[in-house]
């Protein structure tokens, strides 16, 4: 027995009309075909992945005698650097250099240094038939007196042909060096720090500069955008 008498009939009519205006795509697979699917147990997948990583890492270290180097590079690794492109590795993502990334024909800076002591540490190039992207990871010495500073930031440059979805919680518009720039902010979360982004379109490419909120104020991001544009023009 349904009890609908506590609902507002006018609102119900509006909701019915409104929800009918939401287009419903067909299910991606017939539900019946899902019954036969078998997914590997999550625990087994995690154990297998860890074993594979351990095998590859130790094998490489043993072969090259660079165990200490492997450990050091792991400590130095930028956050998220391992997962940035894990979803698209099958379409041709590879680590390269700044000059090597120029094959993507995207607006990239002339040198690996940016105003503020930033120096490029890693470059990831992704090429597909439809779009191209370059992710630049920057580091700098952690400035003293800046609480929560990590000395890290990244810049992503995306060609046309891919939809880059903003994911920050709040945005504001600014004009920097004559370009409209969207400054986005996401507050810190229990499991991670907040971050700020500057997003703009330049020479047909979407550029997103991303840094931690406790290190980047709006003014810092603006300076970075100016520096980026000066290096790219």
């Amino acid at each position: 027995m349904r009890h609908l008498n506590d609902l507002d009939p006018t609102l119900q009519q509006f909701v019915d009309r409104a929800t009918s205006g939401i287009a419903v795509p067909p299910p991606r697979r017939a539900a019946a075909t899902l019954a036969g699917r078998r997914r590997a147990p999550v625990a087994a997948m995690i154990v297998a992945a860890l074993a594979a990583v351990l095998l590859v890492t130790s094998g490489a270290a043993a072969a090259t005698g660079l165990l200490s180097e492997v450990i050091r590079s792991r400590l130095d690794a930028l956050p998220n650097s391992a997962v940035f492109y894990s979803g698209v590795s099958a379409v041709g993502s590879q680590a390269t250099t700044l000059d090597g990334a120029r094959v993507a024909r995207l607006p990239l800076p002339r040198s690996g240094q940016l105003t503020g002591g930033w120096e490029v540490r890693a470059v990831q190039l992704t090429m597909t038939e439809a779009w191209r992207s370059v992710e630049l990871q920057y580091r700098r010495s952690i400035p003293t007196g800046v609480s929560g500073s990590r000395g890290q930031m990244s810049v992503g440059v995306w060609s046309e042909g891919i939809t880059v979805v903003p994911t920050t919680d709040s945005t504001e518009l600014a004009t920097i060096s004559g370009l409209p720039v969207t400054i986005g902010s996401t507050p810190g979360y229990r499991t991670g720090p907040g971050y700020r982004t500057a997003r703009f379109t330049y020479q047909g490419a979407t550029v997103i500069i991303r840094g931690y909120a406790d290190e980047f104020g709006t003014a810092d991001l603006s300076s970075l955008v100016e520096a980026w544009l000066a290096q790219t023009r």
Binding site: V24, N80, E135, T167
Partner: protein
């Protein structure tokens, strides 16, 4: 409930639950993903004969909305993975739908979930309470309170600038 009857129930509940997820604020792509995942779980549930799913709409809604919350957390932690996902183009919602989504988004999560369960899914107070893990009395009080709030805001909406559909995720 056997696998084929769950599949039938899931198919028939799909449009309503999908719209409920979008009304909750999910993007079309995320809503479709979450619902697909909930379908799979429903089928596994039925295959294992753990228990009968009394209201498939409610079951799918709860499982899919939990998955959406998990997905949002992942998106916050792994921003670039979300960036590279090429979202299929979805038809924009109607003006009324955009207004409803925007105004629901302004409500606290619990109120939003209760209103969507009651008005969009058509669940009773008891079914909503079971689905959302709340007391029936709390569902009743939340329905009255949130209904009044939503109604007032929607009534006021034409006087303000209408929300831009492009900003409704």
């Amino acid at each position: 409930m056997n696998t084929s009857s769950v599949a039938d129930a899931a198919e028939s509940a799909y449009p309503r639950v999908y719209r409920a997820l979008v009304a909750l604020g999910a993007s079309p792509a995320d809503a479709a993903d979450a619902l697909q995942d909930a379908f799979e779980r429903a089928l596994k549930h039925a295959a294992a004969r753990q228990e009968v799913i009394a209201r498939p709409e409610a079951w799918l809604f709860v499982v899919a909305s939990r998955r959406l919350r998990t997905q949002r957390l992942r998106n916050r932690l792994f921003l670039p993975l979300d960036l590279v996902r090429d979202h299929p183009a979805a038809a924009p919602p109607s003006e009324d739908a955009a207004l409803l989504i925007a105004e629901l988004k302004r409500l606290p999560r619990r109120e939003r979930e209760v209103l969507v369960a009651r008005y969009v899914l058509g669940l009773s107070q008891r079914e909503t309470a079971l689905a959302l893990g709340m007391a029936v009395g709390t569902v009743a009080a939340t329905t009255v309170h949130a209904t009044r709030k939503l109604r007032e805001r929607i009534d006021e909406a034409p006087e303000r600038s209408r929300p831009d559909t492009a900003t409704v995720r």
